[in-house]
Amino acid sequence: MSTAMPPLRPANGHAATLPAEKRDDIVVDCHIRELYYGSFKAVRDTEIPIRKNSITAFIGPSGCGKSTVLRCLNRMNDLVRGFRFEGHVRYRGRDIYAHGIDPVAVRRFIGMVFQQPNPFATSIFNNVAFGLRLNGFKGDRADKVEKALRAAALWDEVKDKLNKSGLSLSGGQQQRLCIARAIATEPEVLLMDEPCSALDPIATRRIEELMTELSQKFTIAIVTHNLQQAQRVADYTGFLYVDTTQGGRTGYLVEFNHSKHLFEDPQHPHTQQYIRGEFS
């Protein structure tokens, strides 16, 4: 960290603790001290509280580790060889990185939607029912599938062709199918890693509307490269930046606040520059 920069957070606590708000509605309490891929330090000092039924956006320039932070929250990074994590991520009062916690179980409670639409090469119905089967759901599958497709605003478009391949849909439809697949098992938290970056503006708009609706029922964390998107949908926004002073490219959280505050009155010079569009 260069000495010219103002301190990242006030001395009395971390910047992410917002005044006049209780901490007991935090669903996922993410506290990354250091995160390594092999010997590469990818992220440091990032504390982000993710609150119930809210949308939290992570923004920042390319390579700042915002996707890495997101993937930390459901242990997807465990699939990367050489991944090492110091800190804690608390969910339902337990550190998901604690000894004896099964990453597979974590991912069932904390679902994920990816950057590229990635439906399986099977029917639309089977795509949505996949998670139900995994979880050994014994009830009415067709009902759950319909509910998930309705919640993902896809039902009317696919109700007559549930047996068609998921790959036959358009890009935007495929992404909504992936959202339906992720929410079919009703996980508490939904992580979305740049869910609109492969979509056209109209499809993007639909997904954004969908996110706002889904936040009634789910808690959502989203990574986005699109500042307007974060401004439109997110209740809270965290800005991450790359620290190159120590030789590597290590991402860290610069500022976290209500989206309104962060975009209208950014406190940190880096955030101000980024929001003004001076770099991206």
Partner: protein
């Protein structure tokens, strides 16, 4: 090219524009155009030559077989007795032996081949090696960093090396190693469970089982190499989707990755089946060359390829025609298998994109 050429074709007769002085961009030169045309023509010629060659081979075999087809007719394919002295020729037993040994070898080879492909493509080995290195805190050293992947590649190449062993060596190995090794077990099985059709005879030497075992090893590299390629080319995003939904490694493997790679794996199995049907030398040495149709794994049998190899040396003009007829039948079987395989693959592709 004449002016009647389709509009879409690149003009080869004159440059599109006259290059201005000092301009770097140029229309293709005369030399480039000639080279392009010659290259294209050469490729065409060789492609057609290959097709012509196949046609020529089939035509010559058919021509040589025509006298035998006239005299023996379809009875040749349905007859069970091959007795050159009595003048009776039937190849049903050989057809049975060909298909029976190939199918059994294919089942065995596919199970082990696909299992090996999974082991070598899904990172089981490299994860284990990485874990072991990590215990000694060696996993980030430059020397050992790439060791897991290198080991995996080494193993893959070792399996592919199985394809480089000559067929006659496999035959010898079968006679001197496999048969003595399995004989006591086979005879024990026959003694204990002789009522099971598969164990209804004893193994006195060459027979179906040793031939099947060796054949399975021979087709293993084909199945493994092609299946591994298919598994590796399953897009990572599909794997991530399965893991992201909370699937375990096995769940994602069986529910997502294997189905996505199934077409490639099936293609490999069809190719291996073709190889098994035509395999000659090892089978001629191991199968026993006895014309009988039995379910028993331990009885000797015969295959079309072995029949051809064994009978050509002392065949007169009439026998050559008959053997050509048998060769034509073998050709037809492999053709049917390949066409059926291609058809199933095509249907699977259609169903996946629908």
């Amino acid at each position: 090219m004449s002016s009647a050429a389709p509009v879409a074709e690149f003009p080869t007769s004159s440059p599109l524009f006259d290059a201005r002085a000092g301009e770097v961009t140029q229309a293709p030169s005369r030399g480039q155009r000639i080279f392009d045309a010659v290259f294209r023509k050469t490729c065409h010629t060789f492609a057609w030559l290959t097709i012509l060659l196949v046609g020529f081979i089939v035509a010559r075999i058919t021509a040589a077989a025509i006298p035998a087809i006239h005299t023996l007719g379809l009875g040749f394919v349905t007859g069970r007795v091959w007795d050159a002295n009595a003048g009776t020729y039937g190849i049903l037993a050989q057809i049975w032996g060909t298909i029976y040994t190939s199918v059994l070898a294919l089942m065995l080879g596919s199970i082990f081949g696909v299992a090996a492909a999974i082991f070598l493509s899904e990172g089981f080995l490299s994860a284990a090696v990485f874990g072991a290195l990590k215990k000694f805190n060696l996993h980030l050293k430059p020397v050992t960093l790439r060791l897991p992947d290198q080991l995996e590649r080494l193993l893959k190449e070792l399996i592919e090396l199985l394809a480089a062993i000559p067929s006659v060596v496999y035959g010898l190995w079968g006679i001197f190693v496999v048969i003595p090794l399995i004989r006591p077990w086979c005879n024990w099985l026959h003694a204990q469970m002789g009522w099971v059709p598969f164990f209804s005879t004893d193994l006195s030497g060459p027979g179906v089982l040793p031939a099947v075992l060796v054949l399975a090893i021979m087709i293993l590299p084909t199945v493994t190499a092609i299946s591994r390629d298919a598994l590796v080319s399953v897009p990572p995003k599909i794997r991530m989707a399965a893991y992201g939904l909370g699937a375990t490694r096995w769940e994602s493997l069986f529910a997502v990755i294997l189905p996505a790679a199934s077409r490639g794996i099936f293609g490999g199995i069809v190719l291996a089946f073709g190889r098994a049907l035509g395999e000659t030398m090892a089978l001629a040495m191991l199968v026993g060359n006895s014309n009988q149709i039995k379910l028993s794994l331990f009885s000797p049998a015969n295959t079309l390829a072995a029949l051809l190899a064994n009978n050509f040396p002392e065949a007169g003009p009439k026998e050559v025609g008959i053997l050509m007829y048998a060769a034509l039948v073998l050709l037809a079987i492999t053709l049917v298998v390949n066409v059926a395989g291609a058809f199933i693959l095509h249907r699977a592709a259609l169903m996946q994109s629908e």
